[in-house]
Every structure is written in C-alpha cells, then in structure tokens.
Assembly symmetry: C2
Homo-oligomer: 335 residues x 2
DNA sequence: TTGTATGCGTTATCAA
DNA sequence: TTGATAACGCATACAA
C-alpha cells in the first residue's frame, strides 16, 4: 500500500481496459458495462482499496464534489449550527464543505471567492450578510443563506423574519404596550432591513408607529448597549424595546441596568435568534427561534438540486420561525 | 470572460511559451526567468484575471493547498474559535480548510477521512477526541489538536490541562476545601483522562484524595447532572466539585438546585474552558480559560511547517491556560 | 533564459 | 459491450 492504487491498477487486476473500469465504477455509466465484468471490477477496486483521484477527475470533468461555504465569522453563534446543517446535507451526497470567513469585509470576501474559484468547486453557499452585488458569475451554482438578492434571481434559504417580528409585536401589543422602540440591526444586511420593515409594518397594523428607532452598526452587544442609551436619551418613554437580534438585546440589558431601569418591570425587551444561553439570562429573553440547522441543511439540498439541474428556476425557501416567550416581556405598567 | 483563462492564454498574450509563463507565475521558479519577460507575463495574467486551475496543479504535483479539518461537532462551543484560528492560520499561506464533523463516531471518522484522502489534501488537522489509534498513514502530514498520541510521534497542539487543574485545586484548597469531588469527563478522551490524573496529582500534593469521583460518558449538561446526583448520593459531604468542563458544571448547577443545595454557599463548583456566557450564569462560573483561537492558529502554523518540511521531528506545543475566578467558588463553610 | 516534450489519473468520444 | 485514444491544465526534466 505504498502508492495509492489508480484506475489502471484496478483495470489490470480485473483484466479489462481502464476505460471499462471507469465506466463500471461510475454509478452514472455502470449500466453500460456487463454485470459480470462490472462485478469483477468492483471486486478488484475493493481489494486494492482504490479511491479515485479527485484532482484528475476534476480536471477532466471541470467540477468537483466540494462546495464553498462562506460566512462572516464562525464565532458568531448563529453560524455553527448552519454550517453543521450544510455539512450534513452535503455529506449525504458525498460532497464536502470548504469553509471561509470574511468578517463582513468585502475585500476579504472577494479574495476568498477568487481563491475558491480556482478550486473547481461544484457550487457555493453564501451566508455573508451584505446585500449588494451578485458575488459570482451567472454560471456558478449559488445558494444564499439568510439573504436574498433584490432581483430574486438566486436561490436562497431564509427564515421568516417578518413573521417573527409580527409575532413579537402582537405579543407586546397584547400585553398593553403602545410605546415600542426598535434597536435595528445594520441596514446593509438583509436581516436588519427586513426586521425593521416588518416592525414598521406590524406596528402600523395596530395603528402604532415606533417610539424611537436606533440603528446599530453591528450585531454586537456593544452596539446594542450604545443604541439603547441613544434611544432612551431621546425619549425615555418606550415601555418595550424590540432588538434586532439577541446580541443587541444583551447590550440593551446592560444599558438598562446601568440606567437603573428594570427589565421587564420598567421596560420589556425582545431579541431574535434564540442563541444558546439566552434562556439563562436575567431575565430569560423573549425571542424568536430560527431553525439554523435546518436552514443549513436545506441550503445544501437546494444547492445539490441546482448542481444537478442548473437550468431550473432558482427556488426561494422560507422556513418558519417560532416565538419563544420568556420573562423579559411583561404587561405594560400603567405609568 | 466566458471560460476561465488558462496558463496558455496568459503565455499567448505575453508572447511566450506556456512553460515560461508557468515559471514566471510560480514564486518558486520565478528567478529562472528574466525580469522583463516575467513582468510581461504577470501583467498578462492580471489582465486576463488568470487564476491557476488547482485540479491540474494537484494532479501534477500530487498535493494541494487544501487541508482537512476534522472535529466532533461544530455546535460544541469550543470548536468554532479553534476552527476560526485554523482558518486564519491557513489563509495566510493561501491554504483553505475542508471541514468535517464526526460526532465522535469512529466509523464516521473513518468514512470522512477516506473521502478526504481522495482529495489530494496537503494535510490534516484532527481535533477529534478519541485517543486510540493513529488515524492516517505515516506519510500524511497531521497535527492533532487537544489530543496527543501516547507515542508522541505526531505533532500536536494542546492546552496545559494539568496546570489548569492544579490552579483550580490550589484555589479550592486555599479556600479551605478538603472534601473535593470530581465529575470526570469521558476517559476515552485525552482531556478527560488528563484532567482526572491532574486532579489526583494536585490533590495528593496537598495530602488529599478525591471525595468521590464520577465519570461522565459525555461532555454534556445532562451527563453532568446525572453524575452530580450519583456523586452526592454516595457521599453528600463534598464541599467542592471540580467538573470536567463547563457543560458538566452547568449540569452540576442544575442538580444542586434540585437537591436544594446552594452554590457556592453549600458547594463550590468549577468548570473548564470558559465557554461564552458562563460568566453570566448564576453564579458566574469559576473556570479555566483555554486559548481556543490560538490553539487553532498554532495548529495551522505547525501543519504548514510540517508540510514544508515533512521530515522534521514532530513538535508538541503546549499553550498556557488562565484561571478565571468567579463567584461559584467560596470559602469552605465550617460545617 | 527560453522552448519542447511528457505525464499526472480520469473520463468522453469514437471505433470495433 | 469493450478497447483505443485524446484531452483536461499544469509543472518539470531536458534540450536548445
């Protein structure tokens, strides 16, 4: 077992030509060879421990069983379950995931995609958050995660952000809140802008408008902290705050504590994502659970579908979300 | 820009032969071509947006710029920062990471490595936890993370578990604890066994032996919960519990609460890893911080070193850990 | 310093 | 149904 066996070795052992061995070993073309010789070839491959050289195959077929997966930062807790779902979905079809982080930097993303493009990848799953630009040539198989192009000409898998925000708004209104502020996520991300729009929309169906909106420049605890201070400096009257995501909500918690405001007695707070451990915060956070793993899994399935059938119209999958009610929301105080 | 430019296109545009273009574009052999023509070739490559076909290159050179990274489960919070560090370290050298999860399943690991082996990878970074067996042929470049072979013949990067455990023991003893129990991690993992041994060793230097040891079959909250019940059923006398990691410690928290025991008043608890959000638990957890990102980064550097120089003796890097003292440890009550 | 020739392992086309 | 042949794009030993 010095050098890995090639298809030629297999062919020799099975006393056929390499081309025949190739046909027998390839599920696509197996029926073009007689069952008897096919069995002999498969047997030979097994005894030799043959595994095809993917470089040679890629060179010949101009594709591979590897998919590029590009995300902003794996340390952001929403991405691990997504990537895990992607990986599981890919592996079922014998595909592997090539992972890259961009930190939300457009230049890093360009570099990374350029590097990946040289790798004969079968396709891409992009979970980067920026909304602008179609990142790859039209010939590439691409699935977007948590992100859609305005044109809608690229396949995508997203959670139903709008439904989640509407559920939050309905919950708050039901609890008697009428002064509802918003800590919006970055508006150059599709989640940020979608949730903001959904909030405006949801409030208006109840005849309300936001009691202040602050825009965070990042989905970070610090940005949430800063935005909360700004929001409550302008108008201290909001009795409920809808945060763009859980990290922002945690920053909001800290700012409220510093201002001497209690949650939920003085101000109700909601998040988005249902990150690990937000159920153990003080108070446990009311939020919207997104099926991260399923998003990744569906994205992988969708990409494989597109690879198999590139001309089919690009699907857009929207997965349902779930309202998770916890102690950070209480009825509005009569004050 | 229909089909990607090949080296032949570049050569044609620069009015040289493909071989010359290859030499000029390859850092290794750039000095074998005159500066003037080299500049012309580089310029041509740039205008054509040339990027080398990695499949062809791999086929020719029998290697690639891709490294396999194998972990148990990306959703375990210790791994994202490690993988991120790996990725950053690799990218500095133009390498990419092919990621795979095994769920700690030996068969899945075998399958995955078999699939990856067919991909002409330059090397492997293995963060799987099982201790047994050398997973790949001796010819492969491999770096182990959080794991060492008993033989020590494979390069590895680990945190100094023993020092961390010793620091915890010293802290507890200094606080007056003499009855210290242990919720050991799985003993088929190197971290589990190392921490257990270090605990025995650390206690013995203070003339103590453990006040009960329970072995968890997984690094999970549930396993920690079960083990705590078992530990305190046998002997309710432990005033401090050293958990194998943070997840086990959280399970311990839950079990203590259920038993009506207060932490830290009745029982002090320590964890290991300093996962996100354990500083926000009730009480905030005393634990040992492991430099996860740096471990990944150093693993990547070490692997690249070995790829460049395969015959050099395999290094074993041990990174320092840091004791994080929080409210889950209090002086032993005189009871 | 540059050009020529060859082969890496596989698959697709063509012929038998 | 099988065999022969060529080509994918690149890097290198050798010749010029």
């Amino acid at each position: 077992m010095d050098k890995p066996a090639t298809i030629k070795d297999v062919a020799e052992l099975a006393r056929v030509h390499a081309a025949t061995a190739s046909r027998a070993l390839n599920p696509q073309t197996r029926d073009k060879v007689s069952p008897r010789t096919a069995a002999r070839i498969v047997e030979a491959a097994r005894t030799l421990g043959y595994s095809p050289n993917s470089a040679a195959r890629s060179l010949r077929t101009r594709t591979s069983s590897v998919v590029g997966v590009v995300i902003p930062d794996l340390r952001n807790p929403v991405f691990p379950p997504i990537v895990r779902g992607v990986e599981d979905g890919l592996r079922e079809a014998g595909y592997l995931a090539l992972l890259g982080n961009t930190d939300g930097d457009a230049e890093r993303e360009r570099d990374l995609l350029a590097t990946m493009r040289g790798q004969q990848l079968a396709g891409f799953i992009l979970a980067t958050s920026k909304r602008d630009g179609s990142p790859l040539g039209p010939d590439a198989s691409v699935v977007l995660v948590n992100r859609r192009t305005d044109a809608g000409d690229i396949a995508s898998v997203v959670a139903d952000s709008a439904a989640g925000v509407h559920a939050l708004v309905t919950l708050l209104v039901t609890q008697g809140h009428t002064r509802i502020g918003h800590l919006a996520g970055p508006q150059d991300t599709s989640t940020g802008i979608e949730r903001y729009r959904a909030l405006l929309d949801g409030l208006s169906t109840h005849g309300l408008s936001p009691s202040g909106v602050e825009f965070c420049d990042a989905y970070s605890e610090q940005a949430g902290y800063d935005a909360t201070l700004a929001l409550l400096a302008d108008r201290a009257s909001a009795t409920a705050i809808v945060a763009g995501n859980d990290m922002i909500a945690l920053g909001c918690y800290r700012a409220l504590a510093e201002l001497g405001l209690r949650c939920p007695e003085d101000v109700s707070v909601t998040g988005f994502n249902d990150m690990p451990f937000v159920d153990q915060q003080r108070p446990p956070l009311t939020t919207v659970r997104i099926p991260h793993y399923e998003i990744g899994y569906e994205a992988a399935r969708l990409l494989l579908e597109r690879i198999a059938n590139p001309t089919s119209p690009p699907k857009r999958i929207v997965l349902p979300v779930q309202l998770i009610t916890r102690a950070s929301v209480a009825p509005a105080s009569p004050a």
